[in-house]
Symmetry: C4
Subunit: 253 residues, 4 copies
């Protein structure tokens, strides 16, 4: 166990036209929130664990006095239309060598189980908070772009580079003959962005033809909205005091 390995904890029978959903920690923790929400709401079954010597050399203590390795986990949900394999996890590998190795092992798993479509979830920081959160995306195939454009997903607007698994997995997957897309919730960056995450959960539910109870994430998003409204008000007030008049704040507007 002194390398990167995927340990299948459950015998996995033939999958039905499976799609991989990757929700790992990243900007605004959007991927992680989406991944974990889907696993919980869909009651997806744990099928495999990925351990790596490129993850931090730490173990977590559990509430019951147990201990467990830092890991990424594979969950399976057999939906009506097609099967979902969801990858969530505590961390991403920090070094480049580690990132490529972990992404490679996830793709090996996909190849073995005939997963041909890869959907990763991340955030795209615009440095402001929009009323209407967009979902930006990049994809490896035009056909896949067309499918997602129907749902309002925006291609060609996000600029620059995607750091980590959300970018590497679909791009490396292409070389293996898979198609992939990276969905990025528009976010202010900086802290857990449940609002952006909710938009992606809703999109995935429609795209995948699954029913996901949004109650819990709606509540959390509403709470987030209130907190952000408050922050905004406080900033406005302090601006008025300081300068005698309200101004536009570039970060919060």
């Amino acid at each position: 166990m002194i390398e990167t390995v995927v340990v299948e904890t459950d015998k996995i029978k033939k999958l039905n036209n499976p799609v991989l959903i990757v929700g790992l920690p990243g900007i605004g923790l959007i991927g992680q929130v989406v991944g974990r929400y889907l696993v919980k709401e869909l009651k997806a079954a744990k099928i495999a664990s990925l351990y790596s010597h490129h993850f931090p050399h730490q173990v977590f203590m559990t509430k019951k006095g147990g201990m467990r390795l830092i890991k990424n986990s594979f969950y399976l949900h057999r939906a009506r239309k097609r099967d979902l394999v969801i990858v969530v996890g505590d961390v991403q590998a920090l070094s480049s060598v580690g990132q490529y190795e972990v992404a490679g092992k996830i793709l090996e798993f996909c190849k073995k189980h005939k997963v041909r479509q890869l959907v990763t979830v991340g955030g795209y920081s615009t440095g402001k908070i929009s009323e209407q959160r967009k979902i930006f995306a990049v994809a490896t195939e035009d056909k896949l772009k067309d499918k997602f454009k129907k749902y309002g997903v925006v291609f060609g607007e996000a600029k620059g580079s995607i750091v980590g698994a959300a970018g590497l997995i679909p791009t490396l997957g292409k070389i293996e003959g898979m198609e992939g897309i990276c969905l990025m919730g528009e976010t202010h960056g900086g802290y857990v962005d449940t609002i952006a995450a909710r938009e992606i959960v809703k999109l995935l539910a429609v795209y995948l033809g699954i029913s996901v109870n949004l109650k819990r994430i709606d509540e959390r998003a509403k709470k987030s909205e209130k907190i952000m409204k408050k922050i905004e008000d406080e900033i406005k007030k302090s601006m008025e005091t300081e300068y005698g008049s309200s101004r536009t704040v570039s970060y919060i507007r």
Copy 2:
């Protein structure tokens, strides 16, 4: 010798229901103090050395003008009830890749010699000095927790993560079918904590049914207690001077 290797320096005959005790440098040096104390008091015999290119590229100069590699060492004590393999050492590997590799090699050794139970020793910093030092623990099996609960060991209170060998060895060992526990002496952190170490030595003596002379560690613990009392008094005095009255100091109480 340009990788991580365990060199057996002594022919090791079949072990009797062996348990591994790991006492490496870490928080408050508690693991190291416990490991070295047991080796010395039990007159355990050196059986193997672990060298690694993930340890610092330094060698130690000895008092007699000799030189030796940085290493971890395996000692054997054949007790009445069962055999003890004690691992002590100068350092822990600093990188994640190194930590996983070293832990893996220690477990390989255990597998080869049919060690099925792993006990690691570390510290858990509570940021204060308690009169009565607790021993916190996490374990891989409920059965093992029950055994240690009898001796007052506390499960489920320590929170967060354990860095390094004390956490990795039992957790990785579980994958190899071994059972493991990490014992953590309650400590203020910061410097060598002989008092916390003594509590763990006492616990291990009872749990393992071995007799360990506590005279030396009692003396050192008493000295430590005096020094800490003095520090506490000095701080109280300076607080009184500064603020005109004694206050609770969060670090020392």
Copy 3:
């Protein structure tokens, strides 16, 4: 795809006395500008991509909403006299281990396709801006030096060391029986130096007996010259104000 690999995207027929031109990012981006200019003006055909886990773990988003790995690319131009293989790329590996690995893979490609001459392009920072830009060089063979001396290339003046691919590829290539030269445009360092790049494009056109349209790079170089003249004037003015008289500025003269 979790190591360093060269993926040939096109079937490559036998090459005619091929020469490798390497234009990767480095001082003043001179190598990159030269490499990309040649690829574009010569309409060279993409023949291979080099991917590496030693490149940053990022992917680029394209204008059309696509995504691609960070990579180095091989282009082929079949010129009248001999074939040109041009290597350009987004980045160089940052670690030593990565640099040696990438250079090794480029040389493997050369060996396979019987490339025997290696020309790398870089910059040599003299810390000033000369009216007449020199081209400095170092080479692995005296015969090769003689060929380039005819065109005014200066050997034996540049001092110190060359960091990265521009130095490693010809020097490692020598061990494989290839001959190599590193051409370094004289530069102020610091920002994109199109003027230095143009001089090297002109040299390569003559040396390789190819015709390269210099219009685009001439325009960009002229623009650069104007900007630099302006900076120079501004600095002179500020010097006069401060000290009452014009002084020589070591950086700009």
Copy 4:
């Protein structure tokens, strides 16, 4: 050439009771000065080069417009009593993994050519400048210590650890059945210490029964002594000015 390799550039015939002398850069550059001086004065012949991807990814430009890899070099001097293999070099690997790998390759070379005795040269910083420079040492065998004690070499006084090749090579060599010693010139640390280097050259000449012309190193050492005397005087003067009286300076005395 994308790993650590020793390339033998000359056919090496059977060696006569060979001893390895290692003089690489380190504290006060003492090892490097000693190694290079011996190579030059003994007109030792280059027999092998060691290249490594753990060395910096740079190449050196030569005075004549050539280029060469960063490397360590093996030289051979066939003396009357026994053969000397001298290792010198531009650098030491910086990472632990690199250091162990390079030391391992040097020892492989020794094994192949039946070198059984290893002498490394370094510095030991005492933080002061002594009139009479001692030579400190640690060795892997008592017999070897005895041989060097005769020449005034001091064992058991230097404390702590030795960083890098000077420590690793003899200590790792012991595992391969070789005997080794690390000679450390007493030094102030900080800059090139020719005086300490000279003492070690003299010792090695006597120990190895070779004749080394000391003229050049004597001259350089004398120059160093003058410079240091001057520094000392300047410091004393400034102390007098500042405090009105001369004081002992802990660094220079």
